[in-house]
């Protein structure tokens, strides 16, 4: 399950992701206001914390990645 989730995120990152994929050329400084960016954060969270907690953490991160938040460094710990 974990591997499947990470595989899906990898596919997203290789294709549609504005931070890693085809469109990353347009965003030299990165798209996402957080570091690591949302998809990378989800990947690391799922890898480190397991699927259930990882997905929850990832969802929470995406909710925080909204126009009213500050962004900045926010690693999975």
């Amino acid at each position: 399950m974990k591997k499947i989730m990470i595989f899906i995120i990898n596919i997203y990152q290789k294709t549609l992701s504005p931070d890693h994929g085809w469109f990353s050329v347009r965003y030299p400084g990165g798209f996402c206001k957080y570091y690591p960016d949302c998809s990378e954060y989800c990947k690391q969270a799922i890898d480190k914390k397991g699927v259930v907690k990882g997905v929850a953490l990832g969802a929470w991160r995406i909710l925080r990645c909204n126009p009213w938040s500050q962004g900045g460094e926010d690693p999975v710990d």
Binding site: P18, W22, F23, R26, G29, S69, E73
Partner: protein, 293 residues
């Protein structure tokens, strides 16, 4: 979980849509979709304008960023620290947010479901009690049925509008030798993506093609405003940048390899970098190495 999502996402948007069906003349579903789309885009407007502006500011800093990337290559932590310092110095930072991207997708899915469950009266029980009852719903829009796929007019319109919109997004100054695979891919995607849009829109109900088209039209006006704000013209052309300021992509370039000591050193460094990248890729980490002369 499914029920929860239905309660917090599906039903509110269904109600909003039905409210506009009631409000707008002719009980037209198409007009209601257009209204909801515009409301969504207006709600996202301040943040997306701010994000586009910060993106353009960042593109001006690209040479400095490339310097940092090549200086601390392989050290992600130090790299990001230096980037943060650079951002602070120039008072810019990436301001893209991932949530709006996902919201757009969710709205698309919800519109799809709303159109799919149909518009017969038995779904009016999903309406909140304080909502006015639209009575009947008119699916016809200039002779096109919103609930059935439209094969030509709307999909092609959506594709063309999307092409114009992507074309308007300013491209950062390219590398001198344009063999960065990412940049090439990006170039192809400008043409490829609208085509995909046309084919997907052909297989979905016409109402979704309307959503797509209106979103694109809105984005075109937004990008137009931003481009003129930065004096880039309608199609967002960057002013010419001195060649020395352009980032260079040296991995593929076979520049003056002569067999001198320096050249072999260069070659060694190159293979080292490449094996490093392979290792990083195996670990699932992507890095881009750029080098300045």
């Amino acid at each position: 979980m499914n029920n929860f999502l239905t309660q917090i996402l599906f039903i509110p948007i269904y109600n909003l849509l039905m409210f506009f069906v009631w409000l707008l003349p002719g009980n037209s579903l198409a007009l209601a979709i257009i209204a909801v789309t515009i409301i969504l885009r207006v709600a996202l407007l301040p943040s997306s304008i701010k994000a586009s502006k910060s993106q353009l500011e960042l593109q001006k800093l690209q040479p400095e960023m490339n310097e940092i990337r090549s200086k601390y290559k392989g050290d992600q932590k130090k790299q990001s620290e230096e980037m943060m310092r650079l951002y602070k110095e120039h008072k810019v930072s990436p301001f893209g947010s991932c949530l709006p991207l996902i919201i757009q997708l969710i709205v698309l899915v919800i519109f799809y479901r709303v159109i799919m469950i149909g518009f017969n009266a038995d779904h009016f029980n999903l309406l909140y009690s304080f909502m006015p009852h639209p009575g009947s719903i008119n699916l016809n829009f200039f002779g096109i049925n919103m609930a059935k796929p439209d094969l030509w007019i709307l999909p092609i319109l959506a594709g063309v509008l999307q092409f114009v919109q992507t074309k308007m997004i300013p491209q950062p100054p390219m590398q001198k030798k344009s063999n960065d695979p990412m940049a090439m891919m990006n170039k192809q995607m400008i043409y490829f993506f609208p085509l995909i849009t046309v084919f997907i829109a052909r297989s979905l109900p016409a109402g979704l093609a309307i959503y797509w088209s209106i979103t694109s039209i809105f984005m075109i006006f937004q990008q137009w405003y931003i481009n003129s704000h930065f004096g880039l013209g309608f199609f967002g052309r960057f002013p010419e940048v001195a060649a020395s300021r352009l980032p260079e992509y040296t991995l593929e370039s076979e520049a003056n390899v002569n067999g001198t000591e320096k050249a072999s050193e260069k070659l060694k460094a190159k293979t080292e970098i490449q094996s490093e990248i392979k290792k990083e890729r195996a670990r699932g980490v992507e890095i881009t190495v750029r080098k300045r002369k």
